[in-house]
């Protein structure tokens, strides 16, 4: 089965091509082709995971793509347990999102195009996870960026949506600058693009430590862009302008996890370059806190979830930086299911209410039971409540953090867990409980069709049980499947489990007290902490800052370079040379016509004058001549005599 794993990404690609060129007009057929392709890929991914489980070694299959000195690329696949898990995650979420979209996108005039883009995305993401070398992963990395751009701006008539797409593409590409430079540094030093050869070179110490550190940090810049880590996190909340199934698939469960996947895939490098790993951990930790704090006060249901995603990705990045390969990838796996569920649930609510603002909602539990229950399950899971899957993966992360000599990572980790529980249940209470705030919208609300609720239920099931494979006292669990070199067994730390559960529960209780019972007034808190509230509400003013410091000066620079330097100096010089040449020829013309020609003409004039003067003498009358001769003779005689 492994040798044919390339079929998994190929099927969605075929679906994309088929829809674009053939079935574009037939909406139903297009969606069926797209869904059929991803379902088949899902089935094959199950076989792959089964055969990797049986025989968990990395397998590679190669084909020469380009062969130049220093740039020999063999396209191939690297299928190890990490890849197998990712294939499973991507296929599962993608399949469910495809099905859900049939309901969510019904009636959209660009229905077929939507499915073709979903297929293109699935192809690119699957290609990304099976890549076996740096160039290949970068190619698919950019392709997922493209599909993300296309899907964020899917409703491109809205300026805000096309703005968001552009912002996402350019911001992540800024991170990719680092990615490219990192690839250049590392591959030049190691002399290979292939992951395994590179890792061998790293472990054998063939790459100087300094280069390795610099290369690893640049490489991480790519992950910072894609996984929306500080300081490139600004694009992800805006990306919520895309259709909600897209937010679930791309901007929550899979593509944004690509950065985490990249760090996990190259964990060997980070384990060897401790300083770079520390940078990774600090960025992740800081982002986790920063995003969670913003999420506390946002009012758009999707934006809260977006900041929650950034925060959770920060968690994963942090733990990878601390060397927790198993814990990081495990949280990536569980997070995919409950975060996809949260977004699809939010989509179901938005579909019913036609608004994103949670303060227009309320009491929806009565109208949308399935959506509400599944959403709450996901919220419990992300908050890390026993025994849902989020509990196990979050616990793994905190356990790794607790082993680090500086307690800061553990403290922030626990704090973020509490914040997460708070803002998630703030959403739950405001949206699903209490009294309807907008009666008219409430009256029109209804539960979504089965094609949407069934994926919700499946994801709810996964949000509960997916983490059970990683229960610490399980003998052949996740830890003995996805590991780096040696199975990574963290002894279950009951004290930590109890503390994190208590923190999560107190977060939930605080949300309950503020937004359900009303025993603590949010308004009073808001008034009391007006300044911090304003800063958080405005997301620490990152967008404004970037506009003032980067975007606007850059645009001014471009304008300056064009009008002042290019037209004003360079072309001015060119035209100046031209004009000077014309001026010179004018001068020369003047000189020619006045001086040179003047001299010539003057000579001619003088000659002519003399000539015409002399001409008078030539009268042609003999008597005149005779007179002159006679007179001359007389003069000569007189002269001789005297």
């Amino acid at each position: 089965m492994l040798a044919n794993a390339w079929i998994i990404p190929l099927l969605p690609l075929i679906a994309f091509v088929a829809i674009v060129f053939f079935t574009n007009r037939n909406q139903k057929l297009s969606s069926l082709i797209s869904i059929g392709a991803v379902c088949l890929s899902f089935v094959i991914s199950l076989f792959v995971i089964a055969s990797v489980l049986k025989n968990p070694v990395a397998s590679e299959f190669e084909l020469t793509w380009v062969d130049l000195p220093g740039f020999k690329i063999k396209v191939g696949m690297l299928i190890d347990p990490l890849t197998a898990v990712m294939l499973f995650v991507v296929c599962t979420v993608s399949m469910l999102v495809h099905i859900y979209s049939v309901g969510y996108m019904a009636g959209d005039p660009r229905f077929s195009r939507f499915f073709s883009f979903l297929s293109l995305f699935t192809f690119s993401m699957l290609g990304l996870v099976i890549a076996n070398n740096f160039l290949e992963i970068f190619i698919f990395w950019e392709l997922v960026g493209l599909t993300s751009y296309l899907l964020i701006g899917f409703w491109f008539e809205k300026k805000i949506a096309s703005d968001a797409g552009k912002k996402a593409f350019i911001t992540t590409r800024t991170g990719d600058l680092g990615f490219i430079i990192g690839i250049l540094i590392l591959t030049t030093a190691a002399g290979t693009f292939n992951f395994k050869e590179m890792f061998h070179a790293v472990e054998a110490g063939h790459i100087p430590f300094g280069l390795l550190t610099v290369g690893a940090i640049f490489l991480f810049a790519g992950a910072v862009g894609k996984s929306a880590q500080f300081p490139l996190h600004v694009w992800l909340p805006d990306a919520m302008e895309g259709p909600t199934p897209v937010s679930a698939l791309i901007h929550a469960a899979t593509m944004v996890a690509a950065g985490v996947y990249l760090v996990a895939r190259t964990i060997t490098i980070y384990l060897a370059a401790e300083n770079a790993a520390l940078v990774v951990a600090i960025i992740g930790c800081f982002t986790a806190f920063l995003a969670a704090s913003i999420a506390l006060v946002q009012n758009d249901i999707k934006r809260v979830l977006a900041y929650s995603t950034i925060s959770q990705l920060g968690y994963m990045i942090m733990v990878l930086g601390l060397g927790g390969f198993t814990a990081g990838s495990f949280h990536l796996y569980t997070h995919a299911f409950f975060k996809a569920l949260l977004f699809l649930g939010a989509g179901s609510v938005i579909h019913a209410m036609h608004t994103n603002d949670i303060w227009d909602m309320g009491g929806l539990y009565r109208k949308m039971k399935i959506t509400a229950i599944t959403f709450i399950i996901a919220s419990l899971s992300i908050s890390g409540i026993f025994p849902l899957s989020g509990f196990w993966s979050k616990d793994e992360i905190l356990a790794v953090a607790s082993h680090y000599h500086n307690p800061i990572f553990l403290i922030v980790g626990v704090l973020v867990a509490g914040m997460t529980a708070f803002y998630m249940f703030r959403l739950c209470f405001v949206t699903f409980f209490g009294q309807p705030r907008d009666q008219e919208k409430f009256d029109h609300a209804h539960e979504s069709p089965k094609v949407m609720t069934i994926p919700l239920m499946i994801l709810a099931f996964l949000s509960i049980v997916a983490g059970w494979v990683g229960i610490p006292w399980l003998k052949h669990g996740y830890c003995s499947f996805v590991f780096h070199h040696e199975p990574h067994h963290v002894e279950p730390n009951f004290l930590l489990m109890i503390i994190s559960t208590l923190v999560a529960l107190s977060g939930i209780y605080l949300a309950y007290a503020m937004y359900y019972k009303g025993s603590i007034s949010p308004e009073k808190l808001k008034a009391k902490f007006a300044f911090p509230y304003k800063v958080l509400y405005n997301k620490y003013y990152f967008d404004e800052l970037y506009h003032a410091v980067i975007v606007n000066p850059l645009l001014k620079l471009c304008d300056f370079l064009f009008t002042k330097l290019d037209v004003g100096v360079v072309d001015w010089l060119v035209n100046g040379v031209g004009n000077f040449t014309v001026f010179l020829s004018d001068v020369k013309e003047w000189f020619d016509s006045r001086i040179v020609d003047g001299a010539v003409n003057g000579l001619a004039y003088v000659t002519k004058g003399i000539g015409s003067g002399l001409r008078r003498v030539q009268t042609g009358q003999l008597q005149n001549y005779a007179f002159v001769i006679f007179f001359g003779l007389v003069l000569i005689i007189l002269f001789k005599l005297s």
Binding site: G70, F71, L143, L146, K166, D176, T187, T188, C558, V570
Partner: protein, 490 residues
């Protein structure tokens, strides 16, 4: 060599030109037909060239060599290697495509137009096939004449200004080349203009002479590429030229510059190439970043694409300056890729301009709704130009980076910034023109026609083809480039 394929590729368009001139003024469709036919035959021949070219050796193939003016050591000497075969093919393809495109937008003095276009093809083919300096210089200068008239007569805007600017600028450059050629001729014993012999004799040339000669040729080629600060003829000429001529300007004429470097400057004056590697690398960086920044300030679509050529040709120069096999392969790959992508972009700008009579980016909006096929194709080529993986531009840029990074540790990371800037100006343009609310002013805009699609399809196929699987092209050029690098670095 039994079958004079290169001679045929050069002179069949010439024959076509003569036949067109023999037509009567009103026989416009006959002129169109003849132009299509006589640019199609070289295209077919170029396919034969591609098929029969053996990429495993760096030696010359399809050689034709006859004594011409023996007393001056001048020969009629044609031949092709891994450097010229892709360029000959690109020339044949873009000329044919340009002729077909011109069916629609050229309505005045049709006969003369196509005659000039075919003469242009003669010159360009000759440049890429000639291996004798005398012949090379003749073809090099032949290109100027039809180009001058094509811009000056059938252009738009300040066409006379642009035409004369182009002409004088290039002529200024060629004079330096002429001096260089004469200096070479009189320095080498026995006097010869045979390029291959001159390359063999290169090690005998004094270092000082090599540096001087390199500079002389540099000016000639830098104007053509164009390298900052010799680039300001380009936006004017490209913008004011008729569509098909912009395609040829961007697609082929610029490559005559880089081709000249690789055919003449680098192998003949290796000392110069090594000595000036860093300055050229820095100028390449300026081209890339400065070109991209200036693009962002453009309001006219065609001008933006014209300036994007400045930026993209910078990648060629960066790869070349590194003098590594991968870097120069990236350069040649970029020459082909840029020809395909920018050629197509100019065609597509022409398609829009013909209908809307404006190229102001901000005058449009939401076109994706009205003309989805046109918008889709345009966006595909924009993505190609901004270096999206899977399309040819990415491969060449990456090859340049990989090839140049070991040599230029600082310049290359700075040049990578160009990748982001390019994405930024293309996405801004796409957003302003194709996304957003539809500007109802363009309610009457018609979709791209079948003939117009026909002209860009081959370019799209090749762009995707060598982008997905670059080996056929890299294998074709590799041996020749290894030889060049060997000649330069020893």
């Amino acid at each position: 060599m039994d079958f004079p394929i290169l001679t045929l590729m050069i002179f069949i368009p010439f024959l076509g030109m003569i036949l067109i001139l023999l037509l009567k003024r009103e026989q416009e469709s006959a002129a169109r037909f003849l132009a299509a036919l006589f640019s199609f035959i070289p295209l077919v021949l170029s396919f034969i060239l591609l098929a029969r070219y053996d990429g495993s050796t760096s030696g010359l193939q399809f050689v034709e060599k006859y004594e011409w003016i023996p007393s001056l050591g001048i020969t009629y000497f044609l031949g092709a290697d891994g450097l010229s075969v892709p360029m000959l093919f690109l020339t044949a393809l873009l000329c044919f495509v340009s002729v077909i495109y011109s069916f629609g937008d050229i309505k005045e003095r049709v006969r003369q137009y196509f005659a000039f276009l075919l003469l242009l093809e003669v010159g360009m083919m000759g440049v890429f096939a000639a291996l004798d300096f005398f012949l090379f210089y003749i073809f090099w200068e032949i290109v100027l004449v039809p180009m001058y008239f094509l811009i000056g007569i059938w252009g738009h805007g300040r066409k006379e200004y642009s035409a004369i600017k182009f002409f004088l600028y290039t002529l200024f450059g060629s004079l330096f080349m002429l001096v260089g050629i004469l200096a070479l001729y009189f320095t080498v014993e026995p006097h010869t203009l045979n390029m291959m012999v001159l390359i063999e004799k290169a090690p005998e040339l004094a270092r000082g002479f090599q540096l001087l000669a390199f500079v002389a040729f540099y000016i000639a080629f830098a104007v053509k590429v164009p390298i900052f600060p010799f680039h300001t003829w380009l936006p004017d000429a490209h913008v004011d030229a008729p569509t098909a001529v912009s395609v040829i300007l961007a697609g082929i004429l610029l490559k005559m510059g880089t081709y000249g470097f690789l055919r003449i400057s680098y192998p003949m004056f290796p000392e110069g190439a090594i000595y000036f590697a860093l300055p050229i690398g820095i100028l390449a960086l300026i081209n890339i970043v400065y070109g991209a920044l200036v693009c962002m300030a453009q309001k006219d679509l065609k001008k933006m694409i014209a300036y994007s050529s400045v930026s993209h040709m910078g990648y060629c120069m960066l790869g070349m300056a590194a003098i590594t096999v991968t870097g120069i392969s990236g350069c040649v790959f970029q020459m082909v890729s840029h020809g395909l992508i920018t050629g197509a972009l100019f065609l597509l700008v022409g398609v829009l301009y013909e209908r809307a009579h404006t190229r102001e980016i901000s005058a449009f909006g939401g076109l994706w709704i009205k003309v989805p096929v046109y918008s889709g194709i345009m966006m595909l080529f924009c993505l190609g130009s901004l270096g999206l993986p899977g399309l040819s531009g990415f491969v060449s840029e990456f090859m340049v980076f990989v090839g140049a990074f070991p040599v230029f540790n600082v310049i290359v990371p700075l040049a990578v910034i160009g990748v982001v800037l390019t994405a930024a100006y293309f996405l801004r343009m796409i957003q302003a023109m194709f996304l957003g609310t539809f500007n109802t002013k363009w309610e009457g805009l018609t979709e791209i026609s079948g003939r117009e699609i026909f002209t860009v399809i081959p370019l799209a196929i090749l762009m995707v083809g060598i982008g997905v699987y670059p080996s056929p092209l890299t294998n074709m050029i590799k041996a020749t480039i290894e030889n060049i690098v060997h000649l330069v670095t020893g």
